[in-house]
């Protein structure tokens, strides 16, 4: 089975299972799928209704979408990728570094990144950008459609 003639256990073969267990795990997997599908449809319905109800960009909507996304991600990692059934030490060896590092990245972008929007720290490009926005607001639109408002930052003089 292995090309190496050592006494290392064959974990590949040990993860095989019988018909009974297969049936059980298939049922679990389909249940996970239906839950994920329901969440996705729910997200789409809310996303579809959001503009006409004035929900777009509200804090609760963002929180809802992000938490549902995390739920779906957890379902994929835990059941589809089987991490739930690995040895718990391995589970945390995979999850802990990633979660800690990503939380740190989000934290640092939220704290150290705040200067980007403040008027005291405008770059050369930002100034051109604001100037052009002001010009465009005075009316140089190709279309009357509200959502095609022109915002232009391509002039580099």
């Amino acid at each position: 089975m292995s090309d190496f003639h050592d006494n290392y256990p064959h974990y590949e073969v040990m993860s095989n299972h019988g018909e009974e267990e297969g049936k059980k795990s298939r049922r679990t997997l389909w249940n996970v799928f239906w839950i994920m599908l329901a969440i996705t449809i729910f997200e789409l319905v809310i996303g579809f209704m959001a503009p006409s109800h004035g929900w777009s960009g509200t804090l609760w909507l963002k929180t809802l979408f992000i938490s549902l996304t995390v739920v779906k991600a957890a379902a994929i990692v835990m059941w589809f990728m089987h991490l739930k059934h690995e040895v718990s030490f391995f589970k945390y060896a995979i999850l802990a570094p990633y979660i800690i590092f990503m939380l740190y990245t989000i934290f640092i972008i939220l704290t150290e990144g705040t200067y980007a929007g403040s008027s005291g720290h405008l770059t050369r490009v930002d100034k051109i950008f604001i100037e052009q926005q002001a010009q465009l607001k005075q009316g140089h639109h190709a279309s009357t459609d509200a959502h095609h408002e022109g915002h232009d930052s391509n002039t580099r003089h």
Partner: protein, 241 residues
């Protein structure tokens, strides 16, 4: 389930066995996926940063991605909803192939892997269609300063669609991040389809039947689920929020 073997914590690290109860191949597939996930995490965080910076002028996805094949109406979210469904569906067929492999059921693996590959190709095709409409743009277009190579100046004109430096939808960063992140994800999907296809051929040839286990299917399955995992986040941050 499969890995229900209990380990003695005192014995686990004394050598001669894997304390993780995993083969090297699967363990390193996980480590690779963590590094790849960090890349995508970094991209999405930087996307969030730029989007927050240009929050006032950032285009709304429901105004940009409104097309649906064979339908004239504006249908925001419908197409990307379909793409999400295709990818989740192919993720399920993949995990069923892995499960069939655990029972050494070659027919089952062949059947479910085939549908996984079909789903993957459908997703890549859908993404190509979406890119096409994004690049071509709307009939109305918008006024933009477009670089004219002949005169070496920027000329104000009506611009349709999007490229890396100009787009009709709003700030150029929107198109840049859209192209880069969905493109990077699409590359992963495409390579996933190729890898799945190679493993599919091996399954047909009976390589894993002879080997006594279908762990290769499980390893490419991990990669395939990872692609689905990334899409869940791309879907939220690009289309829903």
């Amino acid at each position: 389930m499969a890995h229900s073997i209990e380990i003695d914590p005192k014995e686990a690290w004394s050598g001669g066995q894997s304390p993780f109860r995993l083969s090297y191949g699967k363990m390193f597939m996980w480590f690779f996926l963590v590094s790849d996930a960090l890349t995508f995490g970094g991209l999405l965080v930087s996307y969030g940063f730029i989007r927050h910076k240009y929050a006032e002028v950032w285009p709304k996805a429901e105004h940009v991605f409104t097309h649906f094949p064979f339908v004239e109406q504006h249908l925001p979210l419908a197409y990307v909803g379909l793409m999400t469904f295709i990818l989740i569906m192919s993720s399920v067929t993949m995990v069923l192939a892995v499960e069939a492999g655990h029972r050494m059921n070659k027919k089952g693996v062949v059947l479910w892997m085939f549908w996984t590959i079909v789903g993957g190709l459908a997703f890549v095709g859908s993404q190509a269609w979406e890119w096409y409409h994004f690049i071509i743009g709307t009939a109305d277009g918008a006024w933009r300063n477009v670089w004219d190579p002949a005169t070496q100046t920027y000329v104000k004109q009506v611009f349709h669609g999007a490229n890396m430096i100009t787009n009709e939808y709003g700030v150029p960063q929107f198109a840049n991040y859209f192209f880069f992140i969905t493109g990077f994800h699409g590359t992963h999907v495409f390579s996933g389809v190729v890898i799945n296809f190679i493993i599919f051929l091996n399954v047909l040839k009976g390589t894993y039947e002879r080997r006594g286990h279908y762990e290769m299917v499980e390893k490419v399955g991990l990669y395939w689920h990872f692609v689905d995992l990334v899409w869940v986040f791309v879907f939220t941050f690009f289309y829903l929020l």
